[in-house]
Symmetry: C3
Subunit: 216 residues, 3 copies
């Protein structure tokens, strides 16, 4: 009984934010590891690509803001990537049927990472437009680094609304902030804006216009 109460107690200390953080990091890492597996990378390569997808955007943000790099001060992120690798190795065959689950998880991660990036930039005393840029970078740059590492054209530059969802969320954040909303309202409003923009755009096949080549 003691053990069960200890475990329950431990779970009780996990905040809602930590669960979202786990879900997002896990989904981002899975997306990197799956693309690495399509390229026949070995376990190490898959782990690195997964980690780059999950923590690359935040690392770039922290280096550019000149603050301590977040994952060096919390083993959670690299452990989570390791768990994602084990998951892909064990449940590889079932992953294709979990497409929708991972799509939703990824959108949740995108929303959280955008909020974290925006708030961290504001905490550095930078203006809101820089915060929107850094929030978008936190959410979307990991996917770009992933595609550079697997030697493909970055997916988010050609297809689907992905980074633009972060920009929409960032604008919502800025508006909430401008009209004086408290963080308890601003954060969820921004997160929901990112999540809905992403999900609705994909469900309705909404894309940004493509730049046509000059000889057309």
């Amino acid at each position: 009984m003691e053990l069960i109460s200890t475990i329950l107690n431990w779970f009780g200390n996990i905040t809602f934010l930590q669960i979202i953080d786990f879900v997002g990091t896990f989904a981002f890492a899975i997306s990197g590891i799956r693309l690495a597996s399509a390229k026949q990378f070995d376990w190490f390569g898959a782990y690195v690509v997964g980690a780059a997808t999950a923590i690359g955007g935040g690392t770039l943000r922290d280096v550019m803001l000149d603050v301590p790099v977040f994952w060096m001060h919390d083993g959670f992120y690299l452990s989570c990537t390791g768990l994602a690798l084990v998951w892909v190795i064990l449940f590889r065959r079932y992953l294709v049927h979990m497409h929708n689950t991972f799509f939703i998880f990824d959108a949740i991660g995108l929303a959280l990472f955008t909020i974290v990036g925006i708030q961290k930039t504001i905490d550095c005393g930078l203006p809101i437009w820089v915060a929107v840029v850094m929030g978008t970078m936190t959410g979307a740059a990991g996917g770009v680094i992933r595609d550079v590492l697997i030697n493909e054209e970055p997916l988010i530059f050609r297809k689907e609304i992905y980074a633009m969802a972060c920009v929409v969320g960032g604008i919502v954040f800025g508006l909430c902030d401008w009209i004086g909303c408290p963080a308890e309202l601003t954060f969820p409003a921004c997160g929901i804006a990112v999540f809905l923009t992403r999900v609705l755009a994909v469900k309705n096949h909404i894309c940004l216009p493509t730049l046509k080549a000059e000889e057309d």
Copy 2:
């Protein structure tokens, strides 16, 4: 009349340096956006590639020098990239006829960015040879990041004198500094050296030797 005098006044406050900065940033961004359009990137992807070309070199420099990243403290650079995107969307068909103009604009930007990179490095108390490296990086690394993002071999590693023009300008800067020239002489001398090296090399098809493959 009041309005006209206000506008003239406003223009009067724009320095020669700001005009050059605009011309260079605009030309760099255009080069990124055009290559992104050849890859059928969407507007967001094109904007990111344009921004990476225009501000990537300076960002890398500031991160490595551990000074605040320049574009976060002046909205000019990202606005200028936005303007370049609108320009390409609107005047796409005419761009091919403006090849020479953009070539000259790009060379002007290369010269200015090299000078800025060198001076900023010297201001950090680093030796002149580091300044030449950082000046070259400021001018040329944006183009490398651009080519990595569009998944092509970096153009400046294979063709034309581009980064070497920055190196030549850097050496001129170092010599001027060594013989005690004031900044009013050193800066233009460096800039003209970069500009002329770049333009003359392209006009006369001067290239660096290629490393031959080992099996030849």
Copy 3:
């Protein structure tokens, strides 16, 4: 006689560590320059790829640890890369016969760079698991940057034990540290672990498992 004694004296001041540092930097630069030459890059491109291979991992480490970038404070590293370029230009035809020598040199460099990366991270007050990550990055990230620049899938993600040798060395370092070994024992133990893991894995064709694609 005076001259000879001066030269001997000068050589006497070169420490064992400096020789290893030279051997490693030289071998890393050579590996970048050779791959650049296979892509018909010009001398400048080859130099940049060589430098990125030799100093890229350490640069990434220093930027992420927020300490001064090592090569800016010692002209040795960029000079050494220049020497490697001259070497490849002059002795290109013989390089293929020196395969084993460069393989050993490269493994020596890998070992040294791992130790330097681990110790520098510990000196920043970060935990040992971060130090192992940063040691691996110091040793192996240069090769990843090299492959990104020449537009190839990173070799170390698909073939051979390379970065995993750094991880093994890092674990040995951590264990030595944990049981209270002095640096005089910990450093060589870590270096030998990296070197032997790398050499034995290649000689015995030991690879990490590959992630199979999902449709299999």
